[in-house]
């Protein structure tokens, strides 16, 4: 005890509390910004991603651009097999799926209490591997015909937040929708039939009305022309929807990307850029504060040069002489690290409730803590090296 105490009493002379507090506050701000930004990025990112699977997948729905002239000239809006093959060959493509559509008239009737709603309808089908929900009733049996339907979640939202709210109708949940009896009237090929249906799921990915492919084939054969049809829409699974090559390809081929997948990945991109800027500012502040501490230490060592040299003369090694200063730096930096993690956690508690609206619960803290520890570790290492170097220069005295 007396050991450290004596050295510290000697060497703490000229320590400028003001400078050290200045450094600590600056570094606390810088480090808090950095780790808070990292944490915020990690908490917010899921909003911009469809993390349905462990490996990130994204789907684009593409169509041909509809132009007035093209429509009048009778240019096809369908994708030929060769077009699909070309798309399939692009390096950013994982899988391509075709949309098939109903080729007959559909009228849907919904019976809610005594009120009935009657509306014209259409169906599309895609391979089940592209559908983001997997309901148990997703099949069709011609012997006991009943049509399972998946509709876009947006339709339900539209009904609940738009129509129902405005008309004073009851809001409906996904579970309730399953129980609403639907019936479809199909007309075509001289056949006119009514088949019961049921909404079995809601899709976030597909902005349309989907039926099983087996039903689509069966119904097109029965009410439509039958045979193979060329798709007007394709669903493409890609590695990274923000890829510039995708945009270039679409532009050069006159294709259009439907939905907001590109927008969401743009938003994701801007989020990354903004967080990058914020992190850079934080790092810059930390870096500046690091130089403040370095200057402060240099000044301190300079003022205590004679004392340090006298200790070296007594037989103390440069290592022992630098220890009190290294300890001081380690304590200060350790405290700054602890406080910045604390502040980050507190501020996170402030923004987390806002994210709940997006059904995001926040990710774990450990990565931002590791980032904080690494930055602090680097700063501390820099400080220690500076102290050791400075003391090494005091070893030889110039009288």
């Amino acid at each position: 005890m007396i050991k450290g105490g004596l050295m510290w009493r000697l060497l703490r002379k000229h320590i400028s509390a003001g400078q050290l507090i200045g450094f600590s506050i600056a570094n606390l701000i810088g480090l808090t910004i950095v780790i808070l930004a990292v944490q915020f990025y990690r908490d917010v990112r899921p909003i911009f991603q469809d993390d349905e699977s462990f490996i990130k997948k994204d789907y684009l729905i593409i169509t041909r651009k509809v132009t007035g002239v093209g429509a009048m000239m009778g240019t096809t809006s369908e994708f030929a097999d060769s077009d699909i093959a070309t798309i399939q060959k692009q390096p950013w493509v994982r899988k391509v799926g075709r949309f098939t559509r109903s080729e007959y008239n559909i009228w849907a009737t919904v019976q809610v209490g005594r009120t009935g709603m009657h509306t014209q309808f259409f169906f599309e089908a895609i391979p089940s591997e592209f559908i983001d929900v997997n309901p148990s009733e997703w099949h069709f049996d011609p012997a006991h015909p009943q049509v399972p339907v998946i509709v876009s979640k947006d339709y339900l939202s539209l009904y609940n937040f738009g129509y129902a709210a405005a008309q004073g109708m009851p809001e409906i949940s996904e579970g309730m929708v399953n129980m609403i009896p639907l019936s479809f009237q199909f007309t075509g090929n001289g056949v006119n039939e009514v088949i019961p249906g049921r909404i079995v799921g809601f899709s976030n990915r597909l902005n349309t009305i989907i039926v099983p492919e087996e039903f689509m084939k069966w119904s097109n054969d029965r009410y439509g022309r039958g045979g193979d049809q060329l798709p007007a829409r394709l669903i493409v699974e890609v590695n990274s929807p923000g890829d510039q090559r995708i945009k270039d390809f679409m532009d050069s081929h006159g294709y259009e990307i439907a939905g907001d997948k590109m927008d969401s990945s743009k938003a994701n991109y801007f989020l990354t850029v903004i967080i990058g800027i914020v992190v850079s500012v934080g790092v810059l502040i930390s870096l500046l504060s690091f130089f403040v501490l370095m200057l402060s230490i240099y000044l301190l060592l300079q003022k205590n040069t004679k004392k340090l040299q006298d200790l070296l003369m007594l037989g103390y090694s440069p290592h022992e002489v630098s220890k009190p200063y290294i300890k001081m730096v380690a304590y200060i930096n350790g405290a700054v690290l602890v406080f910045s993690i604390l502040f980050m956690t507190l501020m996170r508690l402030e923004y987390l409730p806002m994210l709940r609206a997006f059904e995001v619960s926040g990710s774990s803290l450990w990565i931002s803590i590791v980032v904080g520890v690494i930055i602090m570790g680097l700063i501390t290492t820099g400080n220690i090296i500076a102290i050791k170097r400075k003391i090494a220069t005091l070893w030889r005295q110039k009288d």
Binding site: L6, L311, S317
Partner: protein, 214 residues
């Protein structure tokens, strides 16, 4: 360490001087363990420089100093720390005490890295030098003569092969000069160490086998 050889050395600031009456500079001589030497000098002849070369904190000289045949320019920081703790006990002319600490704390600061003397031994030295009441006094409040005695006690708080004293009694009266001489010689005898003392004028009462004029 058994011997210190001085071979043709000269402080850099003296380079180019034509006249050399020194028995040390540009000469070959050696200091042996167990023997006492007096370097008498007029001021400005480089006696503090000689001490700082031997103690390894200055290197601005030509020629060579050898510790047991090893050129001291080859020694590294760890070697010097070991030498300063175990082989050469040094009393600097400017004493180099820490004024913000007490007399005892100044000595503690040395003794704790050598672990050489007990608190009781140290107290006895304070008594012998007539300053037992100054043990816990702040060094800043001591007279220069008292400070010199504290510095001498500190010098004795380590194992050594040579005791290197730069003007050890310059601020002491005859009585204390005698006491210092006997304390230092006793310690040297106990450890079988040699003594190298410098002095302006021959007032150091440590008996010597050989005197060099610097």
């Amino acid at each position: 360490m058994e011997r210190i050889d001085v071979k043709n050395t000269l402080p850099a600031v003296f380079a180019g001087r034509e006249e050399n009456n020194s028995e040390v500079w540009l000469q070959d001589l050696s200091f042996e363990r167990g023997k006492n030497y007096l370097i008498s000098a007029e001021s400005g002849t480089g006696k503090s420089s000689l001490c700082s070369y031997i103690y390894g904190f200055r290197e601005d000289y030509s020629g060579d100093f050898l510790f047991d045949g090893r050129n001291i320019r080859e020694l590294v920081v760890e070697d010097w720390c070991d030498i300063r703790c175990r082989h050469i006990a040094y009393l600097p002319q400017e004493l180099r005490l820490f004024p913000e600490l007490t007399a005892m704390e100044n000595i503690e600061l040395k003794n704790r890295i050598t672990g050489f003397k007990s608190a009781k031994d140290i107290e006895k030295l304070f008594e012998a030098l007539g300053i037992p009441d100054k043990i816990n006094a702040s060094v800043a409040r001591l007279s220069i003569g008292q400070q010199q005695r504290v510095a001498i006690i500190r010098t004795l708080c380590q194992p050594c092969d040579f005791i290197l004293l730069d003007e050890p009694v310059s601020h002491l009266d005859n009585t204390n000069n005698k006491i210092v001489a006997s304390l230092v010689m006793d310690e040297a005898k106990r450890q079988g160490a040699g003594i190298i003392a410098t002095s302006v004028g021959n007032n150091v009462m440590i008996t010597n086998e050989k005197e060099y004029k610097l």
